[in-house]
């Protein structure tokens, strides 16, 4: 059985949905961040898959590399914010962080 494009797409869809479910349902900030990582990686799989099966150049794979970098940067900033929230509130429950809400 050869691996076709739609197999990749199914895989990335499953990952994407799992990530979204993580984002929506988790109360833990770290869990939400992990969901975001899943969504981004599902994206990256799509880029690479399309690059391999449709495009004639490597632009999709280069985009996947960019996504890694952005994800890394984002995690750095986000974890720093989470750390500060924890230091201030002694919790990282997203429901508890509503100081900016009017």
């Amino acid at each position: 059985m050869t691996v076709e494009l739609h197999h990749y797409l199914i895989l990335s869809s499953i990952l994407f949905v799992l990530g979204i479910i993580g984002i929506i349902s988790r109360k833990n900030s770290i869990g939400i961040l992990m969901g975001i990582e899943l969504v981004m990686n599902a994206c990256g799989i799509n880029f690479v898959a399309f690059s391999k099966y449709i495009a004639s150049d490597f632009s999709g794979q280069i985009f996947a590399l960019f996504i890694f970098v952005i994800a890394a940067a984002e995690v750095v900033v986000a974890l720093a914010i989470v750390l500060r929230i924890y230091q201030n509130k002694a919790t990282i429950d997203i429901e508890e962080v509503k100081d900016l809400k009017c």
Binding site: I23, I24, I94, L100, K101, C102
Partner: protein, 664 residues
């Protein structure tokens, strides 16, 4: 005489123009200074006005001496410049200086200067002393302007200005209701004549296509005439009569003579200056100036009005006991004389009488002022025996009286004689008009009679009011000096330098002799009758008054002319006024003005309600409330929970996708 000096001062200007401007404007400058800061100046500033008129007087004397030296009766100096220049018409302003103007200037400035001088004594201590001199200066300016004007329009302007100053000065003691009323009466009655004069000016203006200069009018008439007729009179005659109406008002001729006796409510120097010598003579001056303009019909009318006024007001002077009123009627009578002289064509005679009359009548008024000043009464019945107490006043007044009565050697004799001679020669050509000289001679007799009655009652006999008599004293020097100067100029000999001017008018020898004899006779009989009645008491005036009660009452009531006017005109005007006032109160005020108020209130109330309810509450506030309410509702979906947002967003995307797939 003065020319080289002035040329040196003002090398670029015509010396004559400089002199005339100085004569005209120095009283105006005096007026302005006096009016605005007279109170603060030394002696309340009377020296400003006095100095201003003194300048005018001295310069006029120079002009006059030049005129006499030239021996040229037809001397003329004109200068005019455009004033209002429009495409459709133009008006000019200018100066006309001829023998008439020079003589008028001489009369005005001399009498005015002497009256100024006299007033420094007479008005001493008056609370509005400086204001009085301001008005006198203003009058002098207006009067000088009047005689210098070279066109009817400018003359009319100054004509109204002298009317204004006359009004101000008659009502000078306006605290007295009689003075306030007299000033109003003078202003309104003369206005009746002025309206006529203005109509006359307009007729001339439209008939000559805008010529108002005297010379232009005359040269127009020498080439063409006015076309048109009105009420059977040619338009030219009518225009002349309209112009004459102005003179009737100003010179107090019948039937507009009623204001002049009342004008005696003003201070006596004013009566002497304005209501005897100068302003009232303006009418005579106007007729003289416009003489070539009048048609024979108009002149006959003038002669009759003058003759009738002369005799009519002379009779009114017979019975009056107020010293100033007697003189006022005498002035009216003498003005009638002048008009009569002009009307019969004796222009020089009529105008010469104006000049001589100005001197002796001003003297008479100032003398009466001196008497009033001493006794504080104007009633002849409270005077008497003042001859010893006031010798200067007595002698000067006697001289002036001799002059006005027409006694030889005095100026009045010469001018009166010329007028009467003029009437006689007129009648010898037009026998139908025999009434004119009859009126003239009888007026002369009456004049002599009532003037000597005045003298006898004032200065002879015994004092009738001893308390007032004790108080009496001769007036100070600044009051007697004008009297002396004016009485000296009542001598005929003073006027000899003017011989060359008088001689322009020739009266046939035999008629002249007849006039002289007749006038001597009537004057003598008048004086004699007066002497018999008031000195010798051969005829008792009181019993005469009793016997001719009806006539006496008529005279005392001045022929009921005032009552007639009051009944015929004033009452109707007042009635009409009341009617109009009623209409104004009821209809205009109550119905229209007051009626509008409720309408306005209701309208504004309605519009206010609309504004409050609809605009404010419904539209403005309603919008706000609607926005607020909708905001309150929509704020509920803003939970601030990102996960919810994402869920909703994702759900929406799913729905959209499902819809898309269904549609495609």
């Amino acid at each position: 005489m003065l020319d080289p000096f002035i040329v040196k001062l003002f090398p670029t200007l015509d010396p004559m123009l400089v002199i005339i401007s100085a004569i005209l404007f120095s009283p105006l400058v005096g007026f302005v200074i006096q009016f605005f800061m007279g109170e603060k100046l030394f002696r309340k500033g009377d020296w400003v006005s006095l100095g201003a008129i003194f300048i005018s007087w001295v310069l006029t004397l120079f002009l006059f001496s030049d005129f006499v030296h030239s021996q040229n009766a037809h001397f003329k100096w004109v200068m005019s410049w455009p004033w209002i220049a429009l495409p459709s018409f133009s008006l000019g302003m200018g100066i006309l200086l001829d023998s008439t103007t020079i003589l008028m200037l001489l009369v005005i400035t001399t009498v005015s200067f002497l009256v100024h001088l006299y007033s420094t004594g007479y008005m001493q201590g008056d609370p509005r002393y400086s204001r009085f001199f301001a008005y006198l200066s203003f009058f002098s300016f207006s009067m000088i302007g009047l005689v210098l004007s070279d066109n009817l329009f400018a003359l009319y302007v100054f004509w109204e200005l002298v009317g204004l100053s006359s009004y101000l000065l008659i009502g000078f003691w306006f605290e007295k209701p009689s003075a306030a009323n007299a000033s109003k009466k003078a202003f309104i009655v003369t206005r009746v004549g002025d309206v006529g004069m203005f109509i006359g000016i307009l007729i001339i203006f439209f008939q000559t296509n805008g010529l108002l200069k005297f010379e232009d009018i005359f040269s127009f008439l020498s080439k063409s005439s006015f076309n048109g007729e009105f009420l059977g009179l040619s338009l030219l005659t009518l225009a002349g009569l309209c112009i004459f109406m102005g003179a009737v008002g100003k010179s107090a001729q019948f039937p507009l003579h009623i204001w002049l006796p009342d004008a005696m409510e003003g201070p006596t120097p004013v009566s002497a200056l304005i209501h005897a010598a100068t302003m009232v003579a303006a009418g005579v001056y106007l007729v003289t100036r416009m003489f070539p303009f009048f048609t024979p019909e108009a002149l006959t009318c003038i002669a009759y009005v003058g003759a009738f006024t002369a005799i009519f007001s002379a009779t009114m002077a017979l019975t009056h006991n107020d010293i100033k009123k007697v003189l006022a009627y005498s002035t009216v009578s003498q003005l009638g004389y002048m008009m009569m002289g002009l009307g019969v064509g004796a222009t020089i005679a009529g105008f010469f009488h104006l000049v001589t009359h100005a001197a002796f009548k001003a003297c008479l008024f100032l003398c009466s002022g001196s008497v009033i000043h001493a006794l504080h009464t104007q009633d002849l019945r409270e005077m008497g025996g003042l001859r010893k107490k006031m010798p200067i006043t007595f002698v000067t007044m006697l001289i002036a009286t001799l002059a006005i009565s027409g006694v030889p050697l005095f100026s009045g004799f010469v001018s009166k004689d010329m007028i009467l001679g003029g009437t006689l020669s007129f009648v010898s050509n037009h026998p139908n008009h025999f009434l004119i000289p009859i009126f003239g001679f009888s007026a002369a007799a009456l004049t002599a009679f009532y003037m000597f009655r005045l003298i006898f009652m004032t200065f002879f006999g015994t004092a009738r009011d001893s308390k007032k008599f004790e108080h009496a004293h001769e007036s100070p020097f600044n009051m007697t000096l004008p009297l002396i100067i004016l009485s000296l100029s009542s001598f005929a000999i003073v006027f000899t330098p003017l011989h060359f001017w008088i001689e322009q008018e020739e009266i046939p020898e035999n008629i002249h002799h007849l006039a002289t004899v007749l006038s001597l006779f009537v004057a003598g009989s008048g004086i004699l009758l007066s002497y018999l009645m008031y000195m010798k008491k051969v005829l008792n005036p009181d019993t005469l008054a009793q016997r001719f009660k009806y006539i006496y009452n008529t005279l005392i009531h001045l022929y009921w002319i005032d009552e007639l006017y009051e009944w015929a005109i004033l009452n109707n005007v007042v009635r009409l006024n009341n009617l109009l006032a009623h209409f104004d109160n009821r209809v205009i005020d109550q119905v229209m003005v007051d009626g509008w108020a409720p309408v306005t209130i209701q309208t504004s109330r309605g519009s206010g309600n609309f504004d409050n309810r609809v605009i404010d509450e419904l539209l403005v506030d309603g919008t706000g409330q609607m926005v607020g309410a909708s905001g309150k509702q929509t704020v509920k979906i803003q939970t601030g929970k990102v996960q919810q947002y994402i869920l909703v967003g994702l759900g929406s995307v799913c729905v959209l996708l499902i819809l898309l797939t269904l549609i495609l």
